[in-house]
């Protein structure tokens, strides 16, 4: 029974990670941008959603608010800061880390240092009865479904639409796409906005079962990083597979070897480094 619960825990965590990691990985794939501020986006998105929830008592509005607020934030960050570090990997990493420091500190001032729980929506409260007599928190189960829907949607967009084809071509070779007359800046803006929206949204989604707290920005970021390392930067499939692996390994690790759970997460990463330094689906950077 426990195995089933833990597996579901892993999958639901994976769903959350996917929401955050997919945006991060596609942003890198298309624009070669490493935006570690994604961690802060998660945090701030959660806090913003929380505030909207307090005001409107509506979870769905909170989700939307969390997402949109980060779209705006990312726009300014990208336009005035991140853009200036094009091609400078370490610079970009340090710059976005600096952004995280600032955002996290401001959040600390506004919302304080205590973990805050985002109230789950009515339909997601309580537990759900699954086959084989498994009883599982409804919210986390719905999160899995949500993750699957978003994942499938993204995948379809990416693989089956013309827009997706353009993005894929851009990931492959930006200059060519630009030369083909496609407005690469519009494309980038769209992708950035989408990634930011997901990041903020994931903050709200995560906040409803993990709480929102100072430090969450790093905790989730590191897991998301392992996801993209394992899955391969720039690959949507990689983010899916990676999220699942990391989510499951994290869940099993916490359950079976609580004192070493972090070490357990490192396991798949280390094995991968030995054989595929660019991740399962990644390509030479």
């Amino acid at each position: 029974m426990n195995w089933a619960i833990q597996t579901l825990n892993g999958i639901s965590m994976g769903a959350l990670l996917f929401l955050l990691a997919s945006g991060f990985t596609i942003t890198f794939g298309l624009a070669r941008v490493v935006n570690l501020a994604h961690g802060a986006f998660y945090l701030l998105g959660g806090y913003m959603g929380l505030t909207i929830l307090w005001v409107t008592k509506n979870f769905w509005l909170a989700l939307l608010a969390g997402g949109l607020s980060i779209v705006v934030l990312n726009y300014f960050c990208e336009r005035y800061l991140i853009r200036k570090t094009q091609g400078n990997e370490l610079g970009q990493v340090l710059l976005t880390v600096g952004i995280v420091y600032v955002i996290a500190d401001i959040a600390l001032v506004i919302w304080g240092g205590n973990p805050l729980r985002i109230a789950q929506p009515e339909i997601a409260r309580g537990s759900i009865e699954l086959p084989f007599g498994i009883v599982y928190p409804r919210y986390r189960f719905l999160l899995i479904l949500f993750g699957i829907i978003i994942g499938t949607g993204q995948w379809l967009l990416y693989r089956k639409t013309q827009l997706g084809a353009i993005v894929r071509a851009g990931v492959d070779n930006r200059e060519t796409v630009s030369a083909m007359g496609i407005d690469i800046d519009r494309l980038l803006a769209m992708v950035f906005a989408f990634a930011a929206f997901l990041a903020g949204l994931s903050g709200v989604a995560g906040g409803a079962f993990l709480t929102v707290y100072p430090g969450a920005e790093w905790d989730i970021l590191v897991l998301a990083l392992v996801v993209v390392i394992v899955g391969g930067l720039g690959s949507l499939e990689g983010a899916m597979v990676g999220s699942l692996i990391v989510g499951l390994v994290d869940a099993y690790g916490r359950w079976l070897l609580p004192e070493f759970s972090y070490f357990v997460v490192f396991g798949p990463m280390a094995v991968l480094l030995l054989f595929r330094p660019t991740g399962l689906f990644g390509r030479e950077v």
């Binding site: 890198f28 340090l94 600096g98 995280v100 001032v109 972090y262 070490f263 030995l274 660019t278």
Partner: protein, 327 residues
């Protein structure tokens, strides 16, 4: 040029020697921290400034050494030499494993080292039966080697000063040796190095291990200074700030990481005493450094990673005849 430099170092040396007698404990303690973290930043800069790869997880080696020494001293009453040696050894061993990371390139390397560093933090936090979890490890006695016992801050200050100077000089030799020059070649063009006969991966790995070991030395110095270690010592914050120290001060130079250490520690220790939002200040420093001072303070005063056999001296074309010697 030479006399100005000599005068500078002489003044620095004199200041260094008399500091504990003219400043109060707060400042002496700050200087010790600057030296210790400066050494850590130097270790990181071996990779950033000379190999051209950017680790964001060196707090792991620092913390592992600190924890090892702490546990041996506090819980197993091991003599200082044993505990200190074991501390450095533990960092080296960890670096032997984490060195796997050099198989990755560019952004992957940054992310992988970041994740590795976080793993160590996680172990420090979760393996509470061994590491004490959030309570950390304390009650570290002052160091004692044979009959020489450190009896207070002032004594330890000189220990730190001597150790840091020795290792910095050793670092200087390494960085100017054929091995060090090889690293800079790798930084410039790995492909070219391979075609010239270099086993690039082996050199990168060796540099990584050396860097981890040096970080361990800093960790051992730290534990006798702080007399306490806990998970924040392994946190990503420290790794990021240490990398920033190297950049802010001037990557690729010897003095740079120490200058950077001064800047960052003043923000952490001094600014924080007067301003709640010191983390915002830190973040802004990160951002401003990247955007406006990528060569760091050393770059601003005109000394940066430069040609010639000594990496730390700027020689403009006209002056190269008179400036033949060291930096």
């Amino acid at each position: 040029m030479q006399t100005r430099k000599f005068a500078f170092f002489l003044a620095l040396a004199i200041f260094g020697l008399i500091a504990p007698h003219i400043l109060d404990t707060f400042w002496v303690s700050l200087i010790m921290q600057i030296l210790v973290f400066g050494l850590l930043a130097l270790a990181v800069d071996l990779l950033i400034g000379h190999v051209g790869i950017f680790p964001l997880g060196h707090a792991a080696f620092f913390a592992v050494a600190a924890y090892t020494t702490a546990i041996l001293e506090a819980r197993h009453a091991q003599p200082t030499l044993v505990a200190a040696f074991a501390g450095v050894a533990s960092a080296l061993i960890l670096a032997l494993f984490f060195g796997l990371a050099v198989r990755t390139k560019g952004v992957y390397f940054i992310l992988v080292t970041m994740a590795m560093g976080h793993i160590v933090w996680g172990v420090a936090t979760r393996w509470s039966s061994f590491t004490g979890g959030d309570n950390g490890v304390g009650n570290i006695p002052l160091p004692k080697v044979g009959s020489l016992a450190v009896s207070g801050y002032r004594d330890y200050y000189y220990v730190v000063l001597i150790v840091v100077v020795i290792f910095t000089l050793a670092y200087r030799v390494i960085v100017r040796s054929p091995f060090g020059t090889t690293l800079r070649g790798i930084r410039e063009s790995e492909s070219r190095m391979r075609s010239l006969g270099y086993h690039v991966a082996a050199h990168k790995y060796a540099a990584f291990v050396l860097s981890g070991g040096l970080a361990g030395v800093a960790g051992v110095l730290y534990i006798y200074l702080n007399r306490f270690v806990s998970p924040p010592t392994a946190a990503f914050h420290l790794s990021a700030e240490v990398s920033l120290m190297a950049i802010v001060g001037g990557s690729g130079t010897i003095l740079g990481p120490f200058l950077g250490s001064v800047v960052i520690l003043i923000i952490r220790n001094y600014v924080s005493a007067h301003l709640m939002q010191w983390a915002t200040v830190m973040g802004v420093v990160f951002i401003l450094t990247v955007l406006y001072a990528p060569k760091g303070l050393m770059g601003l005063i005109g000394r940066h990673s430069s040609p010639g056999l000594s990496p730390a001296v700027n020689r403009s074309p006209q002056k190269n005849e008179s400036n033949r010697s060291q930096g």
